[in-house]
């Protein structure tokens, strides 16, 4: 069993299964309660109460919603392309979950003389050297691109005009902002000299070690990355694909029951992933005053709160404004940031 490294195979497997379970359950629970938190928070921000009937202060609301959606009828429009229609929710949700696999959610822990890195795609050998997927950042970018397929498939296969328009808008928006988001994190590679997320987090210890505080260019890059990520996952103020005043529900107009819930879950799972990536690349990952995993969770939740805050605050963009912002503002700025960062780092080595 040498292919699984030099630690005993049963320890390797036990650690792997445990990590997979913990990460999956964490993302799933966060997604479920993010919907509750969002409704409650936006309720308070608009001087309403929000859900408060199911369970104490409405805490059972996500569970009630889930059970209800399970028992709803699944309608497949007669003119839809059946296979693509059924496949689309799966293609939208899976990348949102699996990009979490390369994110280190805590410091390595030591149990019975073996070291276990808290990251799914990683392992440590007997000597304690941690190996992880050495192209973690590229993997995250790749998964973000895969999410577009689910939405395009959903929009096209429904064979409905609203869906088609929503799908088209979503795909054009996502690819435009993916470009700026990808170029914004080039500044991170330049500082870290590595694409492995373990290495990137290890390099950010201490408060002013966080990449966002390293130099002014990285600070701007971090903010641009966060905004572009919001646009890429179709969050307000960039939620044009599902602008309900013009497109009913956009690409998922024809979906019902659990399939509709899948798109909803994909949106929130993407939000968790984006906040986790932002934490890892710019905000020091699991470094901080608390135990490592708690730091990570706290930072992710603060960023998710910011997402909801933005949703309650800003009105929606118009489509031409959105594309203008992506191509005429963020793209040139990120290209300049790369140059600026290179010059800064050469001068202040």
């Amino acid at each position: 069993m040498d292919i699984f490294g030099d630690i005993p195979w049963y320890i390797y497997f036990a650690a792997m299964i445990l990590k997979v379970l913990v990460a999956f359950v964490f993302v799933l629970l966060t997604v479920a309660y993010a919907t509750y938190a969002e409704r409650k928070l936006i309720g308070f921000m608009q001087v309403r109460i929000g859900p408060n009937r199911t369970g104490p202060i409405g805490l059972l609301q996500p569970i009630a919603d889930g059970i209800k959606l399970f028992f709803k009828e699944e309608i497949i429009p007669a003119q839809a392309s059946k296979f693509a229609f059924v496949l689309a929710p799966l293609v939208a949700l899976v990348p949102a979950f699996i990009s979490f696999a390369v994110i280190p959610f805590g410091d390595s822990i030591q149990i019975a003389g073996y070291k276990f890195p808290l990251q799914i795609a990683a392992y440590a050998d007997k000597a304690g050297t941690v190996y992880d997927l050495n192209i973690g950042v590229l993997y995250i970018l790749a998964m973000a691109s895969l999410g577009v397929y689910g939405i395009v498939l959903a929009g096209w296969s429904s064979n409905s005009k609203y869906s088609l328009l929503g799908g088209l808008r979503a795909s054009a928006q996502m690819i435009s902002y993916e470009l700026a988001a990808g170029l914004a994190i080039v500044c991170v590679f330049m500082v870290s000299q590595s694409l492995s997320l373990q290495a990137i987090v290890a390099d950010q210890s201490g408060l002013f070690g966080w990449y966002i505080f390293r130099n002014p260019f990285l600070f701007v890059a971090g903010i641009i990355f966060f905004i572009c990520s919001l646009a890429e996952i179709n969050r307000t103020p960039f939620d044009l694909p599902e602008a309900e005043t013009e497109l009913v529900s956009g690409f998922c107009t024809e979906y019902s029951s659990m399939k509709y819930a899948m798109f909803f879950m994909a949106e929130y799972a993407n939000m968790v992933t984006v906040c986790a990536v932002m934490t890892t690349l710019f905000l020091g990952g699991w470094h901080g005053p608390l135990p490592s995993v708690l730091n990570f969770i706290a930072k992710v939740y603060v960023l998710m709160f910011v997402c909801m805050w933005i949703r309650a605050t800003y009105p929606r963009y118009r489509y031409d404004q959105l594309m203008k912002l992506g191509w005429k503002v963020f793209l040139p700025i990120t290209l300049f940031l790369i140059m600026g960062n290179a010059i800064w780092m050469t001068l202040f080595k």
Binding site: I3, F4, E74, Y131, N159, E178, E254, I338
Partner: protein, 135 residues
């Protein structure tokens, strides 16, 4: 060390996610009501009976955006590679990438000037439309 050891959990996680989500979809299909009718299976168009197929031709700007994306994304792949080793490439690498990025920016400026990034009706179309209305 073996490169497989860190990749294997990723594969397991992917398979587990696909299985669990398909399981959820299947369970919902099995649990949900199944009473269909012709009206229910019609595409939703705000209460109007839909006419014709929805597989309509796309607007050209969407196609242009897709082409621009491919051009810029391939080029950003070169920038990624340079950024990961830029310290070792030194001044020569920096000069090369400066040239490359300036070329990219010039390309973007050209698109901008030619109106490839404009959305909505152009000035000429807007002008001719207002003429038709007698304005």
């Amino acid at each position: 060390m073996s490169p497989f050891a860190e990749l294997f959990p990723l594969i397991v996680y992917t398979i587990a996610t696909v299985l669990i989500i398909s399981g959820l979809l299947l369970a919902a299909w099995w649990l949900g009501a199944k009473t269909t009718s012709r009206n229910k299976e019609m595409p939703y168009e705000s209460g109007v009976i839909p006419s014709g197929s929805a597989r309509r031709p796309l607007s050209v700007p969407f196609y242009l955006i897709a082409i621009f994306f491919i051009v810029f994304d391939v080029e950003s792949a070169f920038i990624f590679i340079w950024a990961a080793v830029w310290d070792q490439l030194g001044m020569a690498g920096l000069l090369h990438i400066t040239f490359f990025i300036v070329a990219l920016l010039l390309g973007l400026a050209w698109l901008w000037l030619k109106g490839g990034l404009e959305w909505g009706p152009t000035k000429q179309v807007r002008g001719s439309r207002s003429e038709e209305r007698g304005l």
